[in-house]
Symmetry: C2
Subunit: 451 residues, 2 copies
Amino acid sequence: MTSRRKFIRTAAAASAGLSILPSFNVLSKSPNAQLRIGFIGVGFRGQGHLSRALERNDIEVVAICDIQQRMMDMALTRVRKSGKSRPKVILEGPYGYKKLLDNKDIDAVIISTPWEWHARMCLDAMNAGKYVGCEVNTGATIEECWELVRTSERTGMPMMMLENVCYRRDVMAVLNMVRQNIFGELIHLQGGYQHDLRGVKFNDGKDPLGPGAEFGEKAFSEAQWRTQHSVHRNGDLYPSHGIGPIAMMLNINRGNRFTRLSSYATKARGLHNYVVKTGGENHPNAKVNFKLGDVVTTMIQTSNEETVLLQHDTNLPRPYSLGFRVQGTNGIWMDVNKSIYIEGQGKEHGEWEDAKPWLEKYDHPLWKKYASDAAGAGHGGMDWFVFNAFVEAAKQRVQTPQDVYDAVTWSAISPLSEASIANGGAAMEFPDFTSGKWMYRKNDFAISDSY
Amino acid sequence: MTSRRKFIRTAAAASAGLSILPSFNVLSKSPNAQLRIGFIGVGFRGQGHLSRALERNDIEVVAICDIQQRMMDMALTRVRKSGKSRPKVILEGPYGYKKLLDNKDIDAVIISTPWEWHARMCLDAMNAGKYVGCEVNTGATIEECWELVRTSERTGMPMMMLENVCYRRDVMAVLNMVRQNIFGELIHLQGGYQHDLRGVKFNDGKDPLGPGAEFGEKAFSEAQWRTQHSVHRNGDLYPSHGIGPIAMMLNINRGNRFTRLSSYATKARGLHNYVVKTGGENHPNAKVNFKLGDVVTTMIQTSNEETVLLQHDTNLPRPYSLGFRVQGTNGIWMDVNKSIYIEGQGKEHGEWEDAKPWLEKYDHPLWKKYASDAAGAGHGGMDWFVFNAFVEAAKQRVQTPQDVYDAVTWSAISPLSEASIANGGAAMEFPDFTSGKWMYRKNDFAISDSY
């Protein structure tokens, strides 16, 4: 059977629901067996996933790979404290991960590395026959996105971008409400990433969130690499927390798709001001020309004629807000004011109502079932859910609930928005990464309480 | 002296502040004299302005013009109740307003007619030497906008679009804060018109806000004409309530200008659904194909590299919200959650704070002075301020605080957004209606407590 035919069977099975993939070569164990995982990148984010793995009895941590002794030591401390057996340790520079992939005992990998390493690592992992769970975002260029799709199709290996906000409790309750037609026909949705990251993009080289004006080699943790993207790129660099949940509500790649987008960016002031404030006017980084506009706004059109508004706002002092808005023919929910209005069901005509009772009433079955398991995991518990979903899909040898088409569709917003801004706000056509399958696929994300 | 030279002197004087215009032919009285006003259009909106005029002792209502006996009767009842002398009544069809303009005793006109009549009436009024106060919006096409500018420049007659939200109490407090640098350098602003107008666009032909599925000839008041724009046009049809205040904060046409915009529109569902709900599936209007997308989103770029986001959302059930957001390098204010965050001045790092104490602390001098006068006037008092500003400028024979450049700049968003949507979200260049004067003009809007 050719690879292509294999994938067609796979895709057809997946489109019918959480069906078993027919043709994995690597995974031959029965469902509910142990999943053997390798971790590529155990910085703070990777360590979070590692902790989720160590607290489960259905996972064996086979190997860990990183490029920094300090991070590796922290990861191994977590292993030691868990009482689990010590995994194979690979500390052999940026391409050491290939040695991890050579390990035939590994079923799946979790990739938590700098963005620019995601695509090549995902490609190598799928080619090595591993299930891939990769941190946001995957694919910094449209070409990379296509290569990820074609590689997943050719190898039959699922690739899941670990977008945790799809599992946020209020977001899942609203998804539940969308599916129960509370909002009527969806019309307009909003989301984004509005998070003051100045303390993440700069530190003192010691404390990851410590005060300081350093980035790159003199910094520690994310500031070592993430800030480079603010120096060199101008666009929505981090779309998935906003667009993931929205895409699931709009059935993107499942009867609907994004057709085009336009992005506008403001001037860049926040990062420079922060360097001056924390490091002084004469700090070398005060001379850096940060390209990333402080606020980047993106409009997206769908084939079903909804619009989506995305905002990226990470360089200014502001309260955290993903800025969700879900609006349909019956009413509207917004998270910034924690309010809802559903016509004919509110207390007063045209008055906002506290969303809380609605969110509790429509609490998603997954949260009802697993809230206590998730308690204590990162980001209010949603990190538990996204990790669990990947693990359960990999154990059962089925397609992941967020698949390669989702990963690249959400990630492609970054390069498309950069292109739009560079071209004076021109509307950019959105690729159809499913090559037409979006017309036939069904939405099986979180349709039950299984994962 | 040629008209052109006259206007240059006028503009130079205006740019120096609230200086006296040097060369009006019509107005020869000293400041603080009576202002003689004619009203063109006395529907409900015109009647509101009429009431403001009747309660003042510095205004003589010389003539009233309308096309409907019912509205005229209501207007004359207001005159009678005020005890003021009966104005000349003109009820001679759509062009009866020209007879009003022929009246040499009229200094200024207030135009409150259907949108599509604004431009021609403003042009005729300026050519007749009248001060023009015109309801929003003015100019449905770019050509009309240019004609209004050139006519104001040629005749030397000011034209003020009566944008009342520029005078909303919280908006003026925030303007005050912007000018006192509370937000630092401005980066990104938002506003819009998010108002469920279904009950305005349709009625039963008797009650202007009554239940019903009629528009056009069978309807009453705004539904007679406003709904036609939802049938035939797709764009941001009503930008000024959002953009007016934002433009003043950003010094648009005064050291800054809009350079381009892009608009996206959703499908149109709300109006059709409303017709079916109120008139049944078989109502003739259930067959109407409404072109106006339920939610229209517009991004605007400025020459000083800020961005502005505008939303137009009038066809769906939802709470009223103009959706203001003012964000700078120091912090952010939003009206939907009535909250603010200013770095280093909040109670907690990165937490929203109730905006109320800030709005009270920075209450604008105009509101401090006139709040009691404005009490009881429409829309929370702001209608008093916008009317007063026009009257005071006309009495003192100076440029109006919102001038012809503002009127057309704000109004031009409608045709530009229609063009962008019709061209698949293409970015549209924004005309410079000041022909370069924006680089030299100073912002003198509401700089004191005079008006």
